[in-house]
């Protein structure tokens, strides 16, 4: 399955990197070309998500769960792949639901920032996948300099888990409250 996973991951990587470029172009321009690119984003991200899910599913079959969940690099790769896939699903949802409204006002810069963050997640996931098969890049060293030794499992303590859950519910609450109570302007 490893060979199939390697083949499959090329698709979401290419598509999400292309989407990042498209979002940056659209954030910087209201021109005809930029608007045409914008219209391609939802189909592009839809295909990207499907291919990402396929690559993720095949990736889960490369090693037995007991090996994958016992290996620091395997754990990290799976963690980042899960977050990356979810994150780009979120990007698809925003663009699908809000359409061209996201490019108005400060929204375009928010979208640019979110796309860059998504690319960073994607880059880290790919780097970890490379490490798993013995191919190393300078990104590993960069992450080390930033405080994460990728050969140790990324996990957070219980207090941080509580913080994450509280932050998540706060964000849900903001979303629900904003939709019900605040006007669209």
């Amino acid at each position: 399955m490893a060979a199939y996973h390697v083949v499959l991951v090329h698709f979401p990587i290419a598509i999400w990197m292309t989407a990042t470029l498209a979002i940056l172009v659209r954030a910087l321009s209201n021109g005809t070309l930029a608007q045409a690119i914008e219209r391609a984003l939802v189909p592009l991200l839809s295909i990207g998500l499907l291919m990402g899910i396929a690559a993720y599913a095949v990736g889960l079959m490369v090693w037995p769960w007991e090996a994958l969940s016992a290996t620091p690099l395997g754990r990290n790769h799976m963690l980042m792949a899960s977050w990356t896939t979810a994150y780009w699903a979120l990007m698809l949802a925003i663009l699908w639901m809000q359409g061209e409204r996201v490019w108005q006002g400060a929204g375009r810069w928010v979208m640019a920032g979110l796309a860059i963050l998504g690319s960073a997640l994607l880059g880290i996931t790919g780097t970890l996948g490379g490490n798993l098969i013995g191919v190393h890049t300078e990104v590993t060293q960069l992450l080390r300099l930033m405080g994460w030794e990728v050969y140790t499992t990324f996990y957070v303590p219980n207090l941080t888990l509580v913080v994450l859950v509280l932050a998540s519910f706060l964000l849900f609450a903001i979303g629900v409250w904003g939709r019900r109570r605040l006007p669209v302007r």
Partner: protein, 474 residues
């Protein structure tokens, strides 16, 4: 206030949660847990320098490694409250009083153990080893018909995989005839074992092997017990005629006042039969190990010159006949041959599995290798060749049964014979070793982190989707 006003608090909460996670990641799980035999050293890797030289009759190995202080005291009997109390036995983690000796060890193979060349000492770490969290209980080992009843073992020590019918079961020792055949075929590792207290004061080293257990070569070793279990007293005390005292002072040991030139050990040359009629007082301390001249194959290895700690480094040179004439105990060194070796160091009053180990290296005698022994003429080498720098690492609780099981993602590569160095370096192995000691805890925390992250992304999605909502054309 419109929905767009929610954008900045949403971004702030999301960024804050990510930032807090980044800053706090990796803490809260890895910590000492001595009841489970877990102690994590502060340094996970240390350097070792090695040189080798031979003259056709003898081969010498010179080792140099850093240690903040020499640990030369070991296993003491302290008189307190009318009884002799033992301090300095093997314990999990550092010996609390700092009474545990430094050591350097070297495993040698001539090709008789093929896996050793690829995986080094990992092949010697079997199932439920001593001081692992799941170590076999002494009663289990004592009850074993061969290991316990015949070989008098009380714990599972290093052993080689083919000495078990099932390498993942320490108790499945193959029949004794098979063991004998394996041994004759050279399926064992020679183990040079220098100890700073139990051999160094008399310029000796232990000579052992790793086969179905870690055993000692035939003959007499450089130390024996100085304890009479029936009278619960030492067998020997210091000879006042020769040493000017009956015992050491506990305070001197705790304050590390006794150095290489002082009396800090007891040997046949300095011992007198224990006299219970003496006026023993609290704090009198007698070493529990009596040093003696070894005999036979076990006494083949000697210290060349003096092994000493100076300016933060140990400098130890060991010498042995290239061919000891004991092919069932020792690996003979031959001109133009390549050997596989691996090293380990104990320091900072840590014993048993709390050592730093190396990956396997090749040693060449007039052959290209990771480390080439220098040929010299006369009795003493000039030692003018470069040191071979070796990185030692803390191995944690990683066993051969684990590495060859489905739990190890690289088990297929081991089956294919891919050497450990091809995929891992010492830093990685040290970190993996530590994580293995907390395998279930880290797996749980990692899964919770994964799901918490997904929850955060979902919450962020809901909030930012509302915040980005805006009337068309505005």
């Amino acid at each position: 206030m419109g929905k767009r006003a929610l954008l900045y608090p949403t971004l702030a909460i999301f960024a804050g949660a990510i930032g807090w996670s980044w800053v706090t990641h990796g803490i809260g799980v890895v910590k000492d847990d001595l009841p489970r035999n877990i102690h994590i050293p502060q340094e996970l890797t240390i350097p070792l320098q090695v040189k080798a030289a031979y003259n056709g009759r003898n081969i010498l190995f010179r080792y140099r490694w850093p240690a903040r202080q020499p640990s030369i005291y070991h296993d003491m009997l302290k008189y307190e409250g009318g009884k002799w109390v033992r301090y300095g036995a093997s314990v999990a983690g550092p010996q609390p009083q700092g009474i545990y000796e430094d050591r350097v060890t070297m495993m040698v193979d001539d090709g008789g153990v093929p896996e050793f060349a690829r995986y080094g000492g990992y092949v010697t770490v079997g199932d439920r080893m001593r001081f692992f969290t799941n170590e076999a209980k002494p009663d289990e080992v004592k009850a074993h018909p061969y290991l316990g009843q015949k070989r008098k073992q009380t714990e599972v020590g290093k052993h080689l995989p083919a000495t078990r019918s099932d390498p993942s079961d320490w108790a499945s020792v193959v029949p004794e005839d098979d063991l004998a055949n394996l041994r004759k075929a050279g399926y064992f590792l020679d183990l040079w074992h220098w100890r700073a207290h139990r051999s160094n004061p008399i310029d000796a080293s232990d000579d052992q092997y790793i086969f179905e257990l870690r055993g000692s070569d035939s003959g007499k070793g450089p130390f024996t017990d100085n304890w009479d279990p029936e009278t619960k007293q030492p067998r020997f005390m210091l000879d006042p005629q020769k040493t000017g005292r009956l015992a050491l002072s506990w305070d001197d040991l705790i304050q590390r006042k006794l150095g290489f030139e002082d009396i800090y050990f007891i040997s046949e040359a300095t011992a007198a039969p224990f006299d219970p009629a003496q006026q023993w007082k609290d704090g009198d301390t007698i070493p529990r190990r009596l040093l003696r001249d070894g005999e036979g194959s076990r006494s083949n290895i000697k210290v060349a010159g003096k092994a000493r700690w100076q300016d933060g480094y140990w400098d130890v040179t060991l010498t042995r006949a290239m061919d000891t004439g004991s092919p069932l105990d020792d690996k003979a060194f031959l001109e133009s041959r390549v050997y596989n070796v691996a090293f380990a160091v104990h320091r900072n009053a840590l014993g048993s599995r709390w050592h730093y180990v190396s990956l396997p290296l090749t040693l060449g005698l007039n052959r290209d290798a990771n480390m080439v022994a220098a040929r010299f003429v006369g009795d003493e080498p000039r030692w003018d060749q470069e040191w071979t720098d070796v990185k030692l690492f803390y191995p944690g609780q990683v066993s051969w049964p684990h590495l060859t099981s489905a739990k190890h993602a690289g088990s297929d590569q081991i089956k294919a014979g891919v050497p450990v160095k091809f995929r891992h370096n010492e830093e990685q192995l040290a970190r993996y070793g530590v994580e293995m000691e907390f395998a279930s805890e880290i797996r749980r925390q990692w899964l919770l982190t994964l799901f918490a992250g997904l929850l955060l992304i979902a919450g962020f999605g809901v909030a930012v989707n509302v915040a980005l909502n805006r009337s068309k054309g505005v």
